[in-house]
């Protein structure tokens, strides 16, 4: 009986699973494209660094903190008009990807920044002393040096985003969170809820394990 119920909801679970992967994937991509450069900017414009710039540093810093200080559930609602103008809808995984991306950018940027801070300042100075340009230092020194940190950071970001995506599901974003709310919360369907929990646990474990493995294999320290 229980087993056949499971078979019954399997197609829906499958859809929800891929919706989650989709919106997390989009947000992750945006985090890399925008958050990574932002993190580097936060690092190199800081006091005492080779592109020291008080204005850029404080503007970038304030914006980052601003977004980071808004709880995600509020950010979700707050960004509804933006999502609507951008996509013409506020429902579905693509719409959910908008607030997820906005939350992921500063989150990942701070991770990148703190990974970069781990680099010994002397390594940067050694590069300056051979006459390297700022761009070369970023591309050939900082980025390779923080690669393990970036990969661990992506792992952390992905797992946080999966959590956030469940919240996005509550306001019509789809995905596993949506499924759990609809069946587990509104219909007291324990089976679906437990199943989604198990799927999430497995998903997070796999991501963490893979992330750790890759981070370890690129680390040359």
């Amino acid at each position: 009986m229980e087993f056949s119920r499971l078979i019954e909801i399997l197609p829906e679970l499958n859809t929800a699973f891929f919706q989650t992967l989709y919106m997390v994937g989009v947000a992750l991509l945006v985090a890399i494209v925008i958050g990574l450069p932002l993190g580097i900017i936060l690092y190199v414009t800081d006091k005492g660094f080779f592109l020291e710039n008080k204005l850029v540093k404080s503007v970038a810093g304030v914006i980052t903190n601003l977004v980071r200080s808004i709880p995600f559930i509020i950010l979700l609602v707050f960004l509804l008009p933006l999502t609507d103008t951008m996509l013409g809808t506020t429902i579905g995984p693509t719409a959910a990807a908008v607030p997820l991306s906005v939350a992921a950018i500063p989150f990942f940027a701070r991770i990148v920044e703190s990974a970069a801070r781990e680099i010994d300042k002397g390594v940067i100075e050694a590069a300056i002393s051979v006459g390297a340009s700022p761009w070369m230092i970023i591309k050939d020194i900082i980025l390779p040096e923080i690669k393990p940190g970036i990969i661990s950071g992506l792992t952390i970001t992905t797992i946080s985003l999966i959590g956030f995506s469940a919240m996005a599901g509550t306001i019509g974003g789809g995905g596993i969170g949506d499924l759990a709310i609809r069946y587990g919360y509104y219909r007291y369907d324990d089976l679906v809820m437990y199943t989604t929990v198990i799927v999430l646990i497995v998903l997070v474990q796999v991501i963490q394990y893979t992330g750790d493995f890759i981070a370890k294999s690129v680390n040359k320290r």
Binding site: D120, V123, A126, S129, V130, G131, S133, P144, E145, K147
Partner: protein, 337 residues
């Protein structure tokens, strides 16, 4: 080659100002090895970092090869830095890059094409004796090997000057020796001017021709290393010299000593003359050497001996006068009883 004019570096914080380097002027000649010694906090590292503008002096002029680096726009400064190599106490290699990539980076920074880079890196690693480690990562190397890689990186673009910031301070004595030998070779064979910052007088003795002693941001004494060693003027300099030329006699020996204790210092040619035996033949004294050492500073001998002179008061005085006349540097440590 390097000319510092009235360099001043002031660190200004909200409540106080700290003077790192206080009005220092100095000249490093082409092809020489110049040492700057001092305890930590003396400002020597800051001074060195002013030579390639890793640290921008508050005022003064930094001339390297006749060009004032302080007036250069960023791009020209980067080009100028390619002819000023620098190595550090902490090596500062890029951990995620192999030995090859670490050295090649310096060449890439200078805009050298990929094919030429490869040949040059091989050549450089041969020079520093690390050809077999070309594909290793820094974590797989010992301290001495890491410093060799950083030397190869610093020499990549054929610099005229090499700045060494406590380059051997974190290495063990035998590795220090081999790195110093390498620096010596670089200076001799490639004619590169070297500036060395250190708190180890041994390093200065080993490779420098001239040196300066720094304290509280100022240079308190400067001159040829041999003169500094044989005739230090300042108290701090004497302290530094003592770390290499140490003479402490056991308490017991001093107590049982009846005669007059004199310390003789023989400079250069004098070290080879038979002054002591001349003295003993000319005067009614007997001598007994308690301690003695001949140090070779840049192949020039510096002899230091502590002798006990026995005899009548008159004869001992005459003997000492004779020694003073010939040796110039005689110091009576303890009068006879």
């Amino acid at each position: 080659m390097i000319e510092l004019q009235e360099i001043e570096k002031v660190y200004q914080s909200k409540h106080q100002k700290v003077v790192g380097v206080d009005n220092v002027s100095l000249n490093v000649n082409k092809g020489e090895v110049y040492g700057i010694v001092g305890y930590s906090g003396a400002g020597k590292s800051t001074l060195l970092r002013c030579m390639n503008i890793l640290e921008r002096p508050t005022s003064g002029a930094v001339l390297v090869g006749g060009v004032n680096l302080l007036t250069l726009p960023p791009k020209a400064l980067r080009t100028a830095r390619q002819s000023i190599g620098m190595i550090f106490q902490g090596f500062y290699l890029v951990a995620s890059k192999t030995v090859f990539e670490n050295v090649a980076f310096a060449l890439k920074a200078a805009g050298i094409d990929k094919a030429s880079r490869k040949n040059r890196v091989v050549e450089l690693l041969e020079l520093v004796g690390l050809s077999d480690k070309i594909n290793h990562y820094p974590a797989q190397l010992s301290g001495g090997q890491k410093q060799r890689v950083s030397i190869a990186r610093a020499l990549a673009n054929n610099p005229k000057v090499l700045l060494c910031d406590e380059a051997t301070s974190s290495l063990d004595p035998s590795t220090t020796k081999s790195i110093l030998a390498l620096l010596k070779k670089i200076n001799k064979e490639l004619g590169i001017t070297i500036v060395v910052i250190t708190h180890e007088m041994e390093v200065v003795k080993e490779i420098c021709q001239r040196c300066a002693v720094m304290q509280d941001g100022r240079i308190i004494e400067e001159g040829p290393v041999y003169d500094i060693f044989s005739d230090p003027k300042e108290e701090l300099t004497k302290n530094f010299i003592e770390t290499v030329l140490q003479f402490s006699l056991p308490e017991k020996l001093l107590e049982s000593c009846k005669g007059t204790l004199v310390k003789l210092q023989f400079r250069g040619k004098l070290a080879e003359e038979a002054i002591v035996s001349d003295m003993m033949q000319g005067f009614q004294v007997s001598g007994n050497i308690l301690h003695g050492k001949v140090e070779y500073i840049q192949d020039a001998p510096l002899g230091i001996f502590i002798m006990e002179l026995n005899g009548s008061k008159e004869e001992v005085e005459k003997a000492i006068a004779y020694l003073e006349d010939r040796v110039k540097q005689v110091e009576v440590i303890q009068d006879g009883i």
